[in-house]
């Protein structure tokens, strides 16, 4: 049994990947370049593995990189809309193929990694409320369908790590970060990866269809 990363360029999946490999876990990476039929790449990959009788246990789908809806819709809504449609269609298909793959095995886990879009109110970080809310609804729905195959599907809604935002930004946002929730404490990416690794390593996972906020204070997933 091994793990698959669908896209791994972000600092969070990279850090998690390194930790898992250092712990002796066999990990594979499938990069889906933009402007390609990413879903077809995913489907072919799973078909090939299934033919060989090999199956993954954890599948990580990284959505933390490459898109910032708030900025892109503000700049050029038409282009952003086209990108969004392609991206969400690809994500849904990847979730479907991944669920089918794990269902053919003895079950497994799918983890979707998203940045918490609400942090963008305070510091410059990717804000993808459309993708996040869509993926959350998808995961909640799929989880109900595939639980009978012992497949769990969850979303991590992650505050951006300390390394992805300049220190000055955190200081400038000091006041706004106190609003309603506790003051946001930037977390090193290593600490975030440690938490994700802990979830993935649980022998008996009792969470599916979950939206797991990773960060201190208010996360959009809790509102």
């Amino acid at each position: 049994m091994s793990d698959l990363f669908i896209n791994s360029n972000g600092i969070i999946p990279q850090s998690l990947l390194e930790r898992l490999q250092a712990a002796g876990r066999e990990c594979h990476v499938l990069e889906l370049p933009e402007h390609t039929d990413g879903a077809a790449i995913v489907r072919q990959h799973f078909e090939q593995l299934s033919n060989e009788g090999r199956y993954y246990h954890n599948i990580y789908l990284d959505l933390t990189g490459g898109f910032n809806e708030l900025a892109e819709f503000t700049a050029d809504a038409v282009t952003a809309m086209q990108r969004l449609e392609l991206r969400l269609t690809e994500v849904l298909k990847a979730l479907k193929y991944g669920s089918q793959h794990l269902a053919r095995a003895d079950g497994g886990r799918i983890w979707v990694l998203c940045y918490d879009h609400s942090v963008n109110y305070s510091v410059a970080s990717p804000s993808n409320p459309i993708t996040n809310n869509a993926v959350i609804a998808a995961v909640q729905s799929i989880a109900k369908e595939v639980a009978r195959f012992d497949v769990s599907v969850n979303v991590f809604l992650i505050h951006p790590p300390k390394e992805s935002v300049t220190n000055d930004s955190w200081k400038q946002a000091k006041q706004s970060l106190k609003v309603y929730g506790m003051k946001y404490k930037p977390q090193p990416v290593q600490h975030i990866a440690e938490l994700l690794q802990m979830y993935a390593g649980l022998k008996n996972l009792t969470t599916t269809g979950g939206i797991i906020p990773v960060g201190s204070g208010i996360a959009a997933g809790n509102i």
């Binding site: 969400l88 459309i130 993708t131 369908e145």
Partner: protein, 250 residues
């Protein structure tokens, strides 16, 4: 004169919204003369004609237009019509949508893609093109018809729930962009509502759903329409999704 647009307004919840608006206009007689309704439909010509005749008899200034969210040229043509005819929009009620239900793992990729294209992309395309007309009104409302499935997920409706979750996210994004321009942007998430599609079902198919709501019964299209009406009045409700689900699991 105010212009209120209701997409998919000739049947189901959309029709209930139109009926509710008409009832409110009649309660406040000057409103009848001060508001015009622009209602879209996709393919039900007979229902559209019946609604047009009904509204005409009631003295309501109504404009019934064909528009298909899945066809971006149709969306653009509709917006051009509103631009040229009225020059502004005071409210856009994004009700139109479709569903493809069934087991997600067995669902054809084309059915997944068509839902995203129509429900999400089509709604966003319409709204983005309508923004200048909403800004022209000075103070405006945009209301999205989401779904409880988009809030807490639903088995058998994965792509539909995804698009409705996306609509909720889009309402938040739009509010980030235009909330300070007196544009009030919210979503409504109906739960189990007694539309003609539902009432034809065997009660055994949905009793368990009703038992999971504290009210214990189905809602009506009018229940949803009343919430939509309340959101047409500017206030402090913004970027919110109001669940009209009888207290599901609460």
């Amino acid at each position: 004169m105010k212009t209120i647009i209701v997409t998919g307004g000739t049947r189901g919840i959309g029709r209930a919204i139109v009926d509710m608006l008409v009832a409110k206009f009649k309660q406040n007689v000057p409103a009848v003369a001060q508001t015009r309704l622009v209602v879209t439909y996709r393919s039900g010509v007979a229902q559209a004609d019946a609604l047009a005749a009904e509204l005409k008899d009631l003295g309501i200034d109504a404009d019934i237009q064909q528009m298909d969210l899945a066809d971006l040229s149709s969306v653009t043509a509709f917006v051009q019509h509103v631009t040229q005819t009225y020059g502004k929009a005071d409210a856009l009620i994004n009700n139109a949508g479709m569903t493809n239900d069934g087991s997600f793992l067995a669902m054809a990729d084309a059915d997944v893609a068509s839902l995203i294209h129509t429900n999400l992309n089509g709604t966003i395309a319409l709204t983005e093109q309508m923004v200048p007309l909403l800004q022209q009104a000075g103070c405006s409302s945009v209301i999205f018809m989401a779904s409880a499935a988009g809030v807490y997920g639903k088995e058998g409706q994965v792509p539909y729930a995804t698009t409705k979750g996306g609509i909720i996210g889009y309402s938040q994004l739009l509010a980030r962009r235009y909330g300070r321009q007196r544009m009030y942007i919210n979503a409504v998430a109906p739960g189990f509502i007694a539309t003609d599609m539902v009432t034809a079902l065997d009660p055994a198919m949905f009793e368990h759903t009703l038992n999971n709501a504290s009210i214990g019964s189905m809602g009506t299209p009018a229940d949803v329409a009343n919430v939509v009406h309340s959101l047409l009045t500017p206030g402090y409700i913004q970027a919110t999704t109001i669940k009209v689900d009888g207290g599901h699991l609460r």
